[in-house]
Amino acid sequence: MSDERGGVFGRGEEFLKFFSRGMEFSKELLQENEKLRRKLGQLQTQQVSAAQNPDEWAKLRLELSERIEGLEVERDSALERLREVEMENHHFAERYVEVEEENNALANLYVASFQLHSTLDISEVLKIILEIVINLVGAEVFAIYVVDEKTNRLEAVASEGEPLSVFPRVPMGSGVIGTSVGSGDTWCGDVSGSDDYATPIACIPLRVEDVSIGAIAIYRLLQQKERFTPLDHELFTLLAGHAATAIFSSRLFANSERKLNTIQGFIDLLTK
């Protein structure tokens, strides 16, 4: 009997413990439910508040739109500036190339001019003209003609690429060379080359004070030289004047030297 009572009490205590745990769990659920209700209430309040202030949203949207527009203008301006800087760079690069070309031209012209007036010896002057035409113009076959005042013909006095004997004597005013020298105008033809020594591919008359004293006739360019460049034409202009005066001066100097020697000979003869 007492065993039965003990068993009933034991089960009763277990039931009470189970019941109290269930009660605690129910309390926790109720607390959680309350928290969620509060949270939901807050969110509903915020939503209602936002819905009740559309001006605030519009203001904010406007500010953001203006800011976006401002940034777009800034971006366009930066892109425009970038384009300008790129164009400036391109312009500077082109200018740099031009300046380099001008430097090259000036270097060639300076050297040519310097060398032409570095001597009064006619053979040296002719050698220098040959060097300039070979090295600075790039000609392979050419001749320097000088006017023979007695016969009024042009006669080759120096040449490159072919012996002097192949170049014809040219009457003034006749053919390409004679006409060019007569008119004083540089003549340029087909640069592919000419084996006809009466018809060069270029003829540069040499003139001192509007008087032609000779010419440079070019018949063939070096293999790697395809055409005459603007620098070549500048060199032709320089040669037309400076080579002419160099030849003229050296001839005058040679004549005066000869006369001086003759006079000195007479003086020596008379004073002995």
């Binding site: 270097a107 050297v111 040519a112 090295n135 600075l136 790697q224």
Partner: protein, 125 residues
């Protein structure tokens, strides 16, 4: 910074002056001129150079002979050499490069091209 020493071997005074004119745009450069291959050989074997510019068609000794002699001389065999010439044929270029030239420039030359090649071989900016 040590000066770069450059030897120009060229029989034409006009070309020598033009090459000097071009190379003087380099900073700290000392340029020595020789008027033919033999003169060039004397100078290159008795002095130290960082670069040589050599013409091909020259009296006494031509430029290609000088290039091959330099390449055969142990002390100066690695000196950079630029051949400057009127000879524009492909086989002339190949021959010069095969003999040991580093660069091959044909006349008429441009001063800025010479300068650019010299800068490259001297490894200067």
């Amino acid at each position: 910074m040590a000066k770069h020493r450059i030897l120009i071997v060229e029989d034409s005074p006009t070309m020598r002056q033009l090459l000097v004119f071009a190379l003087k745009r380099l900073k700290d450069v000392d340029i020595v001129e020789a008027q033919d291959g033999m003169d060039g050989l004397r100078k290159v074997t008795s002095d130290e150079f960082d670069l040589a510019l050599i013409d091909i068609n020259m009296p006494v000794m031509d430029g290609l002979k000088l290039v091959s002699l330099i390449r055969g001389e142990q002390n100066i065999a690695d000196m950079p050499i630029v051949v400057v010439t009127t000879e524009g044929a492909k086989e002339d270029r190949e021959r010069a490069l095969a003999l040991g030239a580093n660069e091959y420039l044909t006349k008429p030359i441009q001063a800025n091209k010479v300068l650019s090649v010299a800068k490259s071989l001297l490894k200067v900016g």
